[in-house]
Symmetry: C2
Subunit: 204 residues, 2 copies
């Protein structure tokens, strides 16, 4: 639970000869480029400029490594979420956050990984629930402050904070996944639709 200054230690971990952070960085990069299944102690070590046995000194098992990567990711996500929710255009910033290719891509890899890694599964499950409830709470707060219109979007159709949170998360995931695959059919139209909804919500 040590909160190592995530701001400074993040980027150039290798140059600063911080092996632990270099391993985490390398793991993330491999997951994004080639998927979780491509993560092996040897490949990660090579990427980080280390020998594979050293990886086992910092992380005894590969599960330990995956867990550490995920927890760092979650800490960063919490920071970004708090900043977005506290901004002048919270809905728009939350949407932007969900559309971040790196973090969303990693979450999707971890979700896939959870399918068949028992030790990971509980972690992801808890995180997914927490994230959903944080979004619902944030949207509820924004609606309460009149930040979202209770107009034709809300009452007639019945768009609750829960439904809106799930819609935003779903669409963002699809757009990010498909983009990574090189498929973007209909994306421009969807982004224009989202933009229209954001403007509508913000015009309160």
């Amino acid at each position: 639970m040590k909160k190592l200054s995530s701001r400074s230690s993040q980027r150039k971990a290798e140059e600063k000869s911080n092996p632990r952070a270099a391993i985490l960085d390398a793991t993330e990069r491999i997951m994004l480029e080639a998927g979780y299944a491509a993560v092996s102690s040897r490949k990660v070590a090579t990427r980080a400029g280390l020998r594979s046995q050293l990886l086992h000194y910092y992380f005894r098992t590969m599960d330990d490594l995956f867990i550490a990567v995920f927890q760092r990711l979650e800490d960063q996500h919490d920071e970004h979420f708090a900043r977005a929710a506290a901004s002048d255009h919270p809905i728009r910033e939350l949407w932007k956050l969900s559309m971040n290719p790196a973090s969303t891509g990693l979450v999707l890899e971890f979700t896939a990984l959870a399918t068949h890694r028992k030790a990971i599964r509980a972690l992801i499950e808890r995180s997914a629930r927490r994230d959903r409830s944080m979004h619902v709470a944030a949207i509820t707060g924004i609606m309460g402050r009149g930040g979202i219109g209770a107009q034709d979007l809300s009452p007639a159709v019945g768009l609750s904070p829960t439904v809106l949170a799930l819609l935003m998360a779903s669409v963002a995931r699809t757009l990010v996944t498909e983009s990574a695959l090189g498929v973007s059919d209909g994306h421009a139209e969807m982004l224009a639709f989202v933009e229209r909804q954001l403007r509508r919500m913000e015009s309160r």
Copy 2:
């Protein structure tokens, strides 16, 4: 390209001693239960009641196997899609189809697999595009026949066939993925929301 009677050869492949179909079935089951990364020639063979070397007789490489599984899946999907689109309640049936845990789960595994398997990638990419355009075409047709209301859903908010297709696909994927993970927070509310929209669309 041989169209082997997909109806009859599907289910009890092992009992009928149809090794090829038994291998395809076993691969699908492993992908759904443990993810694409858990698929190995030995595990598939064991599940199918065969020796692993025999797998290489029917499918020279593992890529060949994955491709065959996907193509069978796509053929089945086409059948189901056509039946749904031609039914009395096409939108509802298309939604049901998207919510099928098995087929949607497999598609998600293949999408993840495509990230780092060159031979698979092109296949999935083409299929994703085709599926999107089929859905858009179907929804356009339904709207044209007055099967979907052009009311508050459509014009004011700007819900086009493309946007509706992307929304449906996105939400269904999220619900299926999260359910598989054991997370269902907000799902009941979302399903109720969808049901309300379906009724609204059908009341034409």
